[in-house]
């Protein structure tokens, strides 16, 4: 437990608590940035350089900007006048406290945890690239497919619905009606079927 770890952990936890408890959503987003940057510092301190910089790129760079844009687009940047917590929030706080007590008890009393520190592992970007291209190549491809599908889906979900769309489709349907068979679902019975 080095002093640097304690300081970074306190900053991270304080920023996370602020992100969850402030009234103004923009302040919440900024506190979230601090918490995520603190987590990246924790990763760097644990010797995971690649993950730390990926955390900064993805979370501090992209996800935080996404959240700020969502705050902007939903016009909820003004401080709300009403209560910010849902009714029954005390139950939620209690459940969270129970979860933390259970996890903390398990972490402090577990006998299976390794006691001595192993020497710092060699985790260069070259090693990570080798592993990604050999042992983990299938998960890498699946993640690429997942990201593509998720981003296309996000664009389609957030796309503005056009009110004239149905009218245009109706017009096209009327124009296409007289020419030839309009659907492949009802083939003529004389030519289809088995011989």
């Amino acid at each position: 437990m080095s002093p640097a770890f304690v300081i970074i952990a306190f900053v991270t936890l304080f920023a996370a608590a602020a992100a969850m408890s402030l009234r103004n959503l923009v302040h919440c987003a900024l506190s979230l940035v601090v918490a995520l940057a603190g987590l990246a510092a924790l990763y760097l301190q644990l010797g995971a350089q690649f993950v730390g910089f990926a955390q900064i790129l993805v979370y501090v760079g992209a996800v935080a900007i996404l959240i700020v844009f969502a705050v902007l687009l939903t016009r909820s940047d003004a401080t709300p006048n009403q209560a910010i917590l849902a009714p029954g929030w005390i139950v939620g706080i209690l459940v969270s406290a129970v979860v933390f007590a259970t996890l903390g008890w398990a972490a402090l009393n577990s006998t299976g945890l390794p006691k001595e520190m192993s020497p710092a592992p060699e985790a260069t970007v070259r090693n990570i690239g080798d592993q990604l291209m050999t042992q983990y190549v299938l998960p890498l491809e699946v993640i690429g497919l997942l990201l593509t599908a998720a981003l296309i889906g996000a664009v389609i979900i957030a796309m503005k619905e056009e009110p004239q769309k149905t009218r245009i489709e109706d017009g096209r349907l009327k124009m296409e009606k007289p020419s030839g068979p309009s659907s492949i679902l009802h083939p003529p019975s004389s030519s289809g079927g088995h011989a």
Binding site: M20, L66, T74, A107, I128, A158
Partner: protein, 103 residues
């Protein structure tokens, strides 16, 4: 307290903060932020166990965290798109007022 236990305690507290925010805040965006914090707490656990585990040269924990970050990015994109679509429909992101599916 060993360094591993310190990491686990920080991660547990971060998870509890995220859980409390996700279930108690009324704003849908902040519920999503709470879920992101919980995901990050799990990532911190993976990194801690990778660093202090018996076989850190295998890079397993690090690989899981890299894939988890990618999945969390996809989740954030889809979740925020859903929130924007919901706002366009209901003109609010207050989770207590979005209850048309309750029947």
């Amino acid at each position: 307290m060993t360094p591993l236990q310190g990491c686990l305690l920080v991660s547990a507290l971060l998870f509890a903060i995220g859980l409390a925010g996700a279930v108690t805040r009324r704003n849908a965006i902040l519920a999503l932020v709470g879920i992101e914090l919980m995901l990050n707490a799990a990532n911190l656990n993976f990194i801690a166990f990778w660093r202090y585990g018996p076989h850190p040269e295998a890079l397993s924990g690090m690989m899981v965290v890299i894939f988890s970050i990618a999945i969390a990015a996809a989740e954030a994109a889809v979740g925020l798109a859903l929130i924007i679509a919901i706002y366009r429909h209901y003109r609010t992101v207050n989770l207590d007022e979005i209850k048309d599916l309750k029947g």
